[in-house]
């Protein structure tokens, strides 16, 4: 762009702004600019903020959204279990997650990556993991599959890296992102050892009217261009007591979810009775995502 077109454009833009004072005086822009941090807002402020966002989204996507701000349930810390001896690598969870959490379809964002490893003495060697496998049928003999998503660390490196406190750990253990505070610096993506954070290179692109309208402010509401997003254990579902979407989608029932503090929950029972490990445990991130072997792995 040369100087002349830039100046003409600027002049036109300015005159447009003067001629359309209704747009200039739109207070919602100012409200959004001076929005407080999510954790410091009271109930009335939260209500006003979600109403404003619902209005904005309805205008942008021509669809009615419900943006909730449910608080964590006291005495609950969420934990997740995945049975590696049963996962068949069918990627049903990946697309159930995209459907539930309003990820962009093109450019494509998947919160769950399924890795395929050979069954040899190397075990989980990340350099050898294949995420692009596409056979006619799964499971294939001689391979095992390992879905990786946000591990909801108890000691999350991404939170420490964030310069604007746009991401934090909630009292129920999930790490959330405030898309209105994220500046898109992607430091958190560099800090995350699990590749669990994803960047919106463009506005979320889905087929029109194909958004899931039941959303949470910290979860699956449509993201903006230039912000980072991640798995939240489906905060919009789990805080209402429902299972996450990936748990419900898994055709083999390899995914388990529940309250870690409840000794009788499904996840606690799995941790107590099965062989359990956590991914990259040596990094002291204390993940709340537990991989376990329900059975001996047979071909």
């Amino acid at each position: 762009m040369d100087r002349r077109t830039f100046l003409t454009g600027a002049a036109l833009g300015l005159s447009g702004a003067i001629l359309r004072p209704d747009k200039l005086l739109d207070l919602s822009i100012l409200e959004g600019f001076f929005q407080k941090h999510f954790t410091e807002m009271n109930e009335t402020e939260l209500k006003a903020m979600t109403l404003r966002l619902e209005h904005n989204y309805a205008e942008k996507y021509h669809q009615k959204f419900k943006i909730g701000h449910e608080k964590p349930i006291p005495g609950v810390v969420f934990g997740y279990g995945l049975d590696l001896s049963r996962c068949i690598g069918c990627r049903r969870c990946v697309y159930a997650c995209v459907q539930e959490n309003n990820q962009s379809v093109d450019p494509e964002i998947h919160w769950i990556t399924v890795l395929r490893f050979k069954r040899d003495e190397k075990g989980i060697e990340f350099d050898e993991g294949d995420r692009y496998y596409h056979p006619d049928q799964v499971p294939e003999p001689g391979y095992f599959y390992m879905p990786v998503q946000c591990q909801q660390c108890e000691n999350p490196p991404c939170v420490k890296a964030c310069p604007t406190q746009a991401t934090w750990k909630e009292p129920d253990g999930i790490v959330v992102v405030d898309y209105d505070w994220c500046i898109g610096c992607r430091y958190c993506m560099a800090a995350c050892p699990y590749e669990a954070r994803h960047f919106n290179w463009a506005e979320p692109n889905r087929r029109p009217q194909q958004f899931n309208p039941d959303t949470h402010y910290l979860g699956n509401r449509p993201r903006y261009k230039g912000v980072v997003e991640k798995c939240t254990f489906c905060v919009q579902r789990t805080r209402k007591g429902r299972y996450p979407a990936c748990v419900e989608a898994c055709p083999v029932g390899a995914r388990k979810f529940g309250n870690l503090l409840d000794p009788n929950s499904e996840i606690s029972y799995a941790i107590k009775t099965k062989r359990v490990f956590r991914l990259k445990d040596n990094l002291n991130t204390e993940p709340k995502f537990f991989y376990f072997f329900g059975y001996e792995m047979k071909d």
């Binding site: 810390v77 049928q137 604007t164 299972y243």
Partner: protein
């Protein structure tokens, strides 16, 4: 962020006006003219109260503050089943609080009806008028689609009752109605144990409430129980295939 910004604002205010500061607030400005003797006395008593408070505070912190650590150690060593050093024990020690244990059987479970092939049930529709043939043989005329690959040497009447054709029977001859999992549990005991606790099999619904429980036969055909392969959904786009503009 807001909190940090707030404290910074307060600090700059203190720098501008020391009398506003919380750090100097304990002693009033000495230059005041009404500085009389009784007030001095009150200050002295204030000081005594302050030191007493400090001592009490120190005592409380030293006794109560240390407690949670020791409690957590006791809890982890006593908690049933949890090996010390296991991830769960470490987590429960991290949070220093335990939730009310829920009763795994208390949640209402809705058993999803079994996926019967159409026009098969009830069996007595046809079998009522047929003699019972206990001999294992190849089925040609009817039920030819059934391939029995469950157990070598198995036959229909291992599970189906020869007398009441609409029911299945346990090994001891007891007829069962809806609890097919009890039949599977006779041989697959460890799987049955995990199934009852929600570990084997699939559940949907609420993690802290009403659950929908899938049955054994949703995934394992009783005649050919191995889980059937699926075709996977498409892989993610490779970075080099991304549409760049």
């Amino acid at each position: 962020m807001g909190a940090r910004r707030g404290s910074r604002a307060r600090l700059s205010k203190e720098l501008l006006d020391p009398s506003q500061s919380i750090f100097f607030r304990t002693s009033p400005p000495l230059s005041s003219k009404e500085h009389s003797q009784p007030e001095m006395k009150r200050h002295k008593s204030n000081k005594a109260i302050l030191t007493l408070l400090c001592l009490v505070g120190f005592f409380v912190i030293s006794t109560v503050g240390c407690r949670p650590v020791s409690v957590s150690h006791e809890e982890t060593s006593h908690s049933e089943g949890a090996v010390s050093g296991s991830p769960l024990a470490r987590f429960q020690a991290l949070f220093l609080k335990s939730a009310e244990p829920s009763d795994p059987d208390a949640f209402k479970k809705i058993l999803i009806p079994p996926p019967f092939p159409p026009r098969v049930f009830p069996c007595s529709k046809c079998h009522k008028y047929m003699p019972v043939n206990l001999k294992p043989r190849k089925l040609v005329k009817n039920h030819a689609e059934i391939v029995l690959r469950h157990r070598p040497g198995g036959w229909c009447f291992d599970c189906h009752s020869p007398t009441d054709r609409d029911k299945i029977r346990l090994a001891n001859g007891q007829l069962i109605g809806d609890e097919f999992y009890a039949l599977c549990g006779q041989c697959h005991g460890t799987v049955y144990r995990d199934f009852k606790r929600g570990l084997h099999g699939k559940r949907t619904g609420m993690w802290n409430g009403e659950k929908r429980q899938y049955r054994c036969v949703h995934c394992h055909s009783p005649h050919d129980p191995h889980f059937k392969p699926l075709s996977p959904l498409p892989p993610p786009v490779r970075p080099q295939e991304l549409n760049r503009e």
